[in-house]
């Protein structure tokens, strides 16, 4: 078994944050090398280094046993290392052939694009990917997402790629498309192409992978031949020991049912099918699942941002059928969104105005805003949530991620909700802020709120939730209590094939 790419004692730090610590990684030639780890484990950083997008702080890269410096993605490409990012980087308005040759067009003479030769070459590559019938002149925007993924792979193959890095390529694919992709990967392996494959989906990569490497907190914790592992072992390596230390367990007594959802169905590209759930006072309920499982769509529908096709939402026993953001807010729901830059913050406004945004009408005297009352209300929330800011009048963008999240949380709390919905509340914030947000959630539950939160992190959801619901492909596939939940159970429920087969 020969190594083609090796990272030797590679470390990478951004400012004071260590993204990678002394990682020695080997990709075996002509094999599918799977890299797994939770969010923030360092997978993407390692891949950026191997593809030339980032330089290691220390350590070296070996290619065919020779030390190399991959100064740029172009440099890496020239040495036969290609990468396919999770987010597709295609031009939907251009044809397949034009996409494959974007930025490196074949020329006729100096100025003119040789469209005929491009089309011919693109056709060859498509055939290599098993897409014999696909016309390279077709616009990429018209293709299903799976074929778009293949176009992206085709683009890498055109460069005579020897090592192909794929960063969660299946997150947006249907099961059939995943099968096609895996056939392509098996073909590539036969053609002596080395694949480095990043994934969250245990059931999937176990089918295709030859080697598995586990990263955790920037360190390489395991490297093993896939045949000598099982799912439970991999999960144990990913999660590590004792995640509870970081999170506060809610232990408050459970009261009346505050939120009841019955048979909620939401149409859309990521649909929600027939979801029922309850959240009681003093309870922290987690929803675990993979990207695209419909979790965000579910809470957005609960908050009135999406229309339900069927089903009922009851808050404190009363049906709330109007389904607008205003009516759901008045009923007692509040949502802290997943993407706070996109859905949470008004970047042009101050910290104070952001905190008061949803409740500004309360701080008026004779129809005019009362600066004093606004100031006092905002100050109270800043103290309560320990928000660190240069001042209430400062722009909200001057705050750190964790404090911005608290601003959005403060705004939600000011609406006096009974059930707080939090979509990935700890995403993109540092560990200290994470622990604070977790503590706040437990505290809110202790004060009698119902808390429903979405998380993609096994450790987090297991450590924080009294009850965990698992969503897969728009349905709730399993429910666990804090006593019965295990990583293995969550992972298998989140990738449940039985759900898929149950679909019409």
């Amino acid at each position: 078994m020969t190594a083609i790419v090796e990272a030797k004692s590679v470390s990478k730090s951004y400012g004071g944050v260590h993204a990678l610590r002394d990682v020695t990684f080997t990709a075996h030639r002509g094999q599918v090398n799977v890299v797994v780890g939770e969010n923030g484990a360092g997978k993407s950083t390692l891949m950026k280094i191997l593809s030339g997008a980032e330089q290691p702080t220390s350590g070296e890269i070996l290619l065919d046993g020779e030390p190399v410096v991959l100064a740029s993605p172009r440099d890496a490409q020239a040495r036969g290392i290609g990468i396919i990012h999770q987010e597709l980087s295609l031009f939907p308005n251009l044809s397949i052939a034009e996409n494959m040759f974007a930025g490196r067009e074949l020329r006729r003479g100096r100025r003119f694009v040789d469209a005929a030769r491009q089309k011919h070459k693109a056709g060859e590559v498509l055939a290599r990917l098993g897409q014999h019938g696909l016309d390279p002149r077709k616009d990429v925007g018209e293709l299903p997402i799976g074929q778009q993924q293949l176009v992206e792979i085709g683009r890498a193959l055109l460069e005579d790629v020897r090592v192909l890095i794929m960063d969660e390529p299946t997150s947006a694919l249907s099961n059939h498309e995943v099968d096609v992709l895996f056939e392509v990967m098996a073909d590539l392996r036969r053609q002596d192409v080395t694949v480095i494959y990043i994934s969250h989906k245990l059931d999937e990569f176990r089918r295709i992978g030859d080697w598995v490497t586990v990263l955790r907190d920037g360190r390489l914790v395991a490297h093993e031949s896939m045949s000598r592992t099982d799912t439970a072992w991999i999960v144990r390596q990913m999660v590590g020991r004792d995640p509870d230390s970081l999170y506060v367990r809610n232990g408050s007594p459970v009261g009346e049912t505050l939120l009841a959802v019955r048979g909620l169905t939401v149409p859309g590209t990521v649909p929600v099918h027939d979801v029922s759930l309850t959240v009681r006072a003093g309870e922290v309920v987690g929803i675990y699942g993979l990207m695209g499982a419909g979790r965000t769509e579910l809470v957005e529908c609960l908050m009135g941002m999406r229309r339900a096709a069927a089903g009922q939402v009851l808050v404190r026993g009363r049906a709330e059928d109007k389904g607008t953001v205003q009516s759901r807010m008045a009923a007692g729901l509040a949502l802290v969104p997943e993407d706070r830059q996109r859905d949470g913050l008004v970047q042009t406004m101050s910290v104070r105005d952001n905190i008061l945004l949803a409740t500004v009408a309360r701080f008026t005297r004779a129809g005019l805003l009362s600066g004093g009352a606004e100031q006092r209300a905002a100050e109270a929330k800043v103290r309560e949530l320990a928000i660190r800011s240069p001042g209430l009048a400062a722009g909200v963008t001057a705050l750190s991620g964790g404090n911005q999240q608290k601003v959005v949380l403060a705004r939600a709390l000011l609406t006096e909700p009974v059930v707080l919905l939090l979509d990935e509340p700890t995403r993109g914030i540092d560990v200290g802020a994470k622990a604070q947000i977790a503590a706040l959630m437990a505290e809110l539950a202790a004060r009698g709120f119902g808390v429903l939160f979405i998380s993609s992190e096994l450790a987090e959801v297991i450590a924080m939730a009294d009850r965990v619901l698992v969503m897969a492909r728009g349905r709730i596939t399993a429910e666990f209590t804090a006593d019965t939940v295990t990583e293995e159970a969550l992972v298998s429920a989140s990738a449940s094939e039985s759900v898929l087969e149950a679909l019409p």
């Binding site: 004071g16 908050m303 941002m305 953001v325 205003q326 807010m329 949502l335 969104p337 996109r342 859905d343 949470g344 913050l345 008004v346 970047q347 042009t348 406004m349 105005d353 945004l357 949803a358 500004v360 009408a361 008026t364 129809g367 005019l368 805003l369 320990a386 660190r388 800011s389 240069p390 400062a394 722009g395 963008t397 001057a398 705050l399 750190s400 964790g402 404090n403 705004r411 609406t415 540092d430 200290g432 802020a433 604070q436």
Partner: protein, 359 residues
Amino acid sequence: MTDTHVREASTAAAPEPGAPRGRALARAALLLLRGRTLVVLVILILFFGAVSSEYLTQSNLILMTKHVAINAILAIGVTFVILTGGIDLSVGSIAGLASMVAGGLLFKGLGVPGGTVFFSAAVVIVIGIAVGALVGAVNGIVITRFKVAPFIATLGMLYVARGLAQLHSNGGTYPDLAGTPARGNTGFHFIGVDSVLGIPVAVWIMILVAIAAIVVTTRTPFGRRIFAVGGNERAAILAGIRVNRIKIAVYVISGACAALAGLLLTSELGAAYPDTATTYELNAIAAAVLGGTALSGGRGTIIGTVMGAFVIGFLSDGLVLVGVSTFWQSVVKGAVIVFAVITEQAQQRLQSGLARRTA
């Protein structure tokens, strides 16, 4: 939270030489940039005052301010729209349409079965403004309900409203708006011609509109929501703001302001013709931009817009007074507007740079 301390400590440990002075300089530059419209206005006044002896006379200042009033009122309305991240290209045409509706009512009355009805000048003014508000509401509904981009929707309305203005008189002019005592419709000249306490009524109206607009934008929940919609529409929706209502409201305000400006212009001229206020939308948008309103929405002030209108007005009239050709006036005006946006961006950069250093 701990990193705040760390950063403070590190800056204290290794102070850059001259950093405090650099920072003070940046602060001063920021202050100058923030007040740049005023600075430019003062420079304009000093310059033209030095070049022309007539420029700073009381009568010329009053005349120029009166010119400013009409554009300022249009621009205030447009500022509401731009603050939400929209644009209103139809205000000039709405002014023209309101002018023709009012002119028609004063000149030939309203034909009803059994005769012709004449309304008092005050009622005509109210009707004229209502027409503007109505057209604005149509803009708002097309934009929110049918999801047409504001640029396109109001560009369409620019043509539609102008066409309606021309249809109103079949292209002709209503030449006499004085009214007769017998019809009880005299007095339309009051708003555009008369003065109170030596200051034209039009200027008083501008002051009232500006004060009202300042109160609405800075002191009411509605105003706060306007900024929120322009700053981040999705966040505004999630905060329970009825974004569509806010948007319709700002186009109504813009239409009403446009109509009011059209009526002032008509009153001043003493006649209503369908081409009234053609291309005025550009001056209005220019005033708002000059006054620091960001076309991307969420940032801007009414007082800045008024100041912008003053700069444009005082610049144009000054150039006329000095005898610069109208062609050059156009060139200068355009250059000033682009320069204003460049300085706006410099201000934003400096501001966020300072904020980062303070944080």
